[in-house]
Symmetry: C2
Subunit: 317 residues, 2 copies
């Protein structure tokens, strides 16, 4: 298929072409750049929402409720799940997966999970380009779900225009569970399961934390929204806060910076996956695959350090 054909079919939302193209992105295929270059021209219209929080905080239920809300407004929705425990990526228990199915027959809702790809690849390398594809498909709202721990997750959330951090009352030392870096980039906090004991304390702790962070004057203070995951209570308020944040970043031109930052992240991601793929090929073809190498290490035929030096020589000459 020609580049133009691929671009056209992605824009029309042809699921098979989209799926095949995303697979190419995942594989670190060099050819994807040509298509992405064209798709990039049609991006910049979607609002990208990052949702992060610990496993068990109810992110997927909130996302489910948000999808339902946006669908009643006739918005097209894309979801990228980067959380390995997410039901969207098949990692969670049955009940959640059934909840997700609600949207699986809706052609205007596109779900995609991001998996790891090989030894040298990272979890996140293709997320930025997948978001680009969803924009080109004409999605109005794109939700990125990540778990709130790990540097990869903090990096991915920087793709979002609006970052939502979900917490729940009584999750151990709950505030402790939120990585400091995430707290700083939160645009909206959600305290979910607001019918659970301890909700007041959680809100108080969050407020205290925000004050301690000594936010600079004139900076926007992130609102705290309470939701009840299962009943959907609070979702309209959350959607309103998202909309307000969207107006805020657009009127202050912050969105221009955020979009440029997305370009940068995508540049690094694509570079990473391209290079990793090249190196994996060199290792596989000239040195050996994982299990071959492990048995050669076991038999002391090789040592890891000489192998690094030799591989570097092979790659960089």
């Amino acid at each position: 298929m020609s580049i133009q054909d691929t671009v056209d079919k992605i824009r029309k939302g042809d699921i098979r072409v989209v799926a095949r193209f995303i697979r190419k992105i995942d594989d670190g295929d060099e050819d994807v750049c040509e298509v992405l270059k064209e798709l990039h021209k049609f991006s910049g219209h979607a609002h990208i929402i990052g949702i992060t929080g610990n496993p068990g905080s109810g992110k997927s239920t909130i996302i489910n409720n948000l999808i339902r809300f946006y669908r009643t407004k006739n918005k097209k929705v894309g979801v990228v799940a980067v959380d390995p425990s997410s039901p969207f990526s098949g990692g969670a228990i049955l009940g959640d997966r059934i909840r997700m199915q609600e949207h699986s027959n809706d052609p205007e809702v596109f779900l995609r999970s991001v998996a790891t790809r090989g030894n040298l690849g990272g979890l996140s390398a293709s997320t930025s380009s997948i978001v680009r594809v969803m924009e080109a498909m004409g999605k109005d709202i794109i939700i990125i779900e990540t778990v709130g721990v790990g540097q990869d997750e903090v990096d991915i959330i920087k793709l979002a225009h609006t970052t939502i951090v979900v917490t729940v009352p009584g999750l151990g030392d709950d505030i402790q569970a939120i990585k400091a870096g995430i707290l700083e980039i939160a645009d909206i906090f959600v305290v979910n399961k607001a019918d659970k004991e301890g909700v007041e304390k959680t809100i108080r702790d969050l407020r205290l934390m925000l004050e301690l962070k000594n936010r600079q004057e004139g900076m926007r203070t992130p609102p705290i929204v309470t939701t009840k995951g299962i009943t959907g209570e609070g979702i309209e308020i959350l959607a309103k806060e998202i909309e307000e944040h969207r107006s805020y970043i657009s009127s202050s031109n912050i969105d221009r910076y955020l979009n440029a930052r997305r370009d940068y992240i995508e540049f690094v991601d694509l570079l990473k996956s391209n290079i990793n793929r090249k190196i994996e090929k060199i290792i596989e073809s000239e040195i050996g695959n994982r299990s071959e190498l492990i048995s050669r290490f076991e038999n002391k035929e090789l040592n890891p350090y000489n192998l690094v030096e030799n591989t570097i020589k092979k790659v960089f000459g």
Copy 2:
């Protein structure tokens, strides 16, 4: 300092030399291979314990109790914290950090946290070599702490001889919170905070999960140990189970495979950080730093895809 000098001083546990060398590992310095090659000869004696679990599950308290236990047996202990929310890596609240201080004046306890290093680097790239250094320092027990979510974390835990998964009662859909990949590699389960409501249910859920996993016949079934983090109850039983697992892998020769797998992981880690460093240098010197690139993207002077293609050409010719 000559290679031999560095090796000797690391073996003697000279903290300043160790710290400087670990910094070089973190930086992806090429020279580290020569030293590591020598250190490798002195490795293979330590028992490496991986501890993983969600933030708030009390991993750090358990580690603290294990350190105390092993110190009463006169064992030398090293800890590598790869969990960004860990008090060992400075990410947690004050109370935890104070608890950690208990061991900070003990010269036979060496704590080290692993941070992220630059845009192209991963969280984990240097862990395997840091463990190698701790072995050469003569540590008997090396504990790796990671958070139980994210592919990076699953990869790191493969450095361990014995993998412990910590969970607590009532952590949302608690079992859901444990990544499937982690469940499969657990050698011991710990249900911490065993005075909390729901402990019986958590144990039952774990047992069910293990049965559902349909473990092959003849395979070892991971024991479930209950602990009460703060009182230290259960730590001796945990230590006994660790010792039993150690005998098991040694008598079945599994340890030889695990050590070879460590070599492989270290090979990939060192290769990654070496190559990432080279690429970062090329980008910085020939293309621009992060904020320069972001403003050029903002001004539409550059597009991420051409930049990928050009960088690949520069790196690989």
